[in-house]
């Protein structure tokens, strides 16, 4: 994704004389950003996400800068006459991969989400959760420039939920944009670059960020070259960075992003040395209080 996806005065209504679901929406999605969309049920969150994903065309206004997009619906049907690996191979080629790459990545992503055992089971026989894993794999397997997740976590088991958070972290670290809706306020808590609220059929940046919930963190202690500076990717992702001794840093990182930070540190030139990775002694939100 090389340029911004921009929604300018976008409105959407169903039917020629139907009521406006959304109107006057301005939104800019920059590469590498994580955007959260909030709102009560029926306010038009899903409609907004369908516009962002390019599934629906706006009734008024315009959308420019469409990148390669992938979408995960909230509920994925298992009424498809394929096996997961067969479906994912088809979708991989639709996303522009070669058949061979698509098949290999399909197997990898199913394995990553703990659905490798069902790769060759007809989709009609899959449980709701496993179907949802197929939907998530479908979107991730072609490294999309824009990933749109409409309550994609719903129905996933705990391991797969954590894996999807890590996959989102990888995507944004690789320069892709991610837009998501989720009812759980702890989902990727403290990580989004922007949070928007759908209120009265339009979009507002969330104001009054008094009690933004803080999610679980990991503490990473690293040593760098003398006088070295932390890699930009690591500083950007870490919630806080302290320097208890010269050259030694103590980073507090959202658990979903620990892999991304470690990768940035270990692949830096020259590489950094990871001393310890541990759970924090004191939750960071309590420690910050006076």
């Amino acid at each position: 994704m090389h340029r911004d996806l921009e929604l300018v005065r976008v409105g959407r209504r169903y039917g020629i004389r139907g009521p406006w679901v959304l109107r006057g929406v301005d939104l800019t999605i920059t590469p590498g950003s994580l955007t959260r969309v909030e709102g009560a049920n029926g306010t038009g969150k899903s409609t907004l996400l369908r516009l962002v994903a390019g599934i629906d065309t706006p009734t008024e206004g315009r959308i420019t800068g469409r990148p390669r997009t992938a979408y995960v619906p909230e509920r994925f049907p298992s009424a498809l006459p394929f096996t997961p690996v067969g479906y994912l191979t088809h979708l991989g080629t639709v996303h522009g991969l070669s058949r061979r790459t698509a098949a290999a990545r399909a197997a990898d992503w199913l394995e990553r989400f703990g659905a490798g055992a069902y790769a060759a089971t007809p989709m009609a026989h899959l449980s709701k959760g496993t179907s949802q894993k197929v939907a998530v794999a479908q979107a991730l397997l072609a490294d999309p420039e824009l990933l749109v997740l409409d309550e994609a976590w719903t129905g996933l088991d705990a391991e797969a939920r954590a894996e999807l958070e890590r996959a989102v972290a990888e995507r944004t670290a690789a320069g892709g944009a991610v837009v998501f809706v989720d009812h759980d306020p702890r989902r990727l808590a403290g990580v989004p670059d922007a949070t928007h609220q759908v209120v009265d059929g339009t979009l507002r940046p969330r104001t009054g960020q008094v009690a933004a919930p803080v999610g679980p963190h990991t503490v990473v202690i690293v040593q760098g070259p003398a006088g070295g500076r932390l890699p930009a990717d690591a500083t950007r992702t870490a919630a806080s960075a302290e320097e208890p001794a010269p050259g030694t840093y103590r980073l507090t990182v959202p658990v979903s992003h620990s892999d991304v930070v470690l990768r940035a540190l270990l692949t830096a030139r020259p590489p950094w040395h990871v001393v310890t990775v541990s759970a924090p002694d004191v939750p960071p939100d309590e420690k910050d209080r006076p």
Binding site: Y14, G15, R50, A53, G54, I55, D56, T57, T59, R68, T69, A70, Y71, V72, P73, E74, R75, F76, P77, A79, L80, P81, F82, G86, H90, L91, T93, V94, H95, G96, A135, Q138, A139, A142, V148
Partner: protein, 223 residues
């Protein structure tokens, strides 16, 4: 586009929803065509029967995919291209079916006019039959494209509209399909084999326009 067509074809073939129209077409031919009948007459019957089948195949292709799965594909490729792939898959299936039926009918029929006096060369008859079949497949797909999602969404309206439109485009004067079929039927009387590309050209134009309208509206109307 190749990937989309391959995906849509796999969906169509594996869903087995193609079985009812194909079986109905086979029954229709079984009733109306017998070996030893005049070839052009039978070919006209074969082509005319394909029109509603082509419309039905379009309905299967544009409604068969579950909405959530369709949303995933549309996000990847855009609403117009995703819809076009479904329409082209249905058209291709209708053409394959019609070609097979035409070849079979050409082989088993008597190569003569209705009064058994004038000979009708098999090759020219087959070519005329293929042109008429193509015109009917194209027009049937156009009917299917305009009477299903995204234009008419509820089955209660879409199915009667589709059947009525298919009937009208088979019998109404001025329709390319009617022109192609009646050319074969009158040719079977007179012995003049109609190999005019005009009905096919008109059907191509109509199908292109219908596909363009349907693809442009996909994504604009409600899901």
């Amino acid at each position: 586009m190749t990937a989309l067509l391959r995906y849509q074809t796999a969906l169509l073939l594996r869903s087995q929803r193609w079985l009812p129209p194909v079986i109905l077409y086979a029954v229709f031919l079984g009733v109306g065509v017998q070996s030893g009948q005049p070839v052009l007459d039978s070919l006209g019957y074969t082509a005319a029967g394909l029109l509603p089948v082509a419309a039905w195949l379009v309905r299967i292709c544009v409604t068969g995919e579950p909405p959530a799965a369709r949303a995933c594909v549309v996000a990847a490729r855009g609403p117009a291209r995703a819809h076009l792939a479904a329409l082209l898959t249905a058209l291709f299936a209708a053409v394959v079916l019609g070609t097979a039926a035409t070849l079979l009918v050409t082989v088993i029929s008597q190569h003569a006019t209705n009064d058994h006096r004038l000979p009708v060369p098999a090759l020219r008859a087959g070519a005329a039959g293929l042109l008429a079949t193509l015109a009917c497949a194209l027009l049937g797909s156009a009917v299917g494209a305009l009477t299903n999602r995204p234009l008419l969404r509820s089955p209660g309206r879409a199915v009667p509209a589709m059947l009525l439109a298919a009937l009208l485009s088979t019998v109404a004067a001025g329709s390319p399909a009617q022109a192609a079929v009646s050319g074969l039927v009158t040719g079977s009387e007179s012995g003049r084999i109609p190999v005019s590309p005009l009905p096919v050209a008109a059907a191509v134009l109509l199908a292109t326009a219908a596909f363009a309208v349907a693809c442009a509206l996909n994504g604009r109307r409600s899901p």
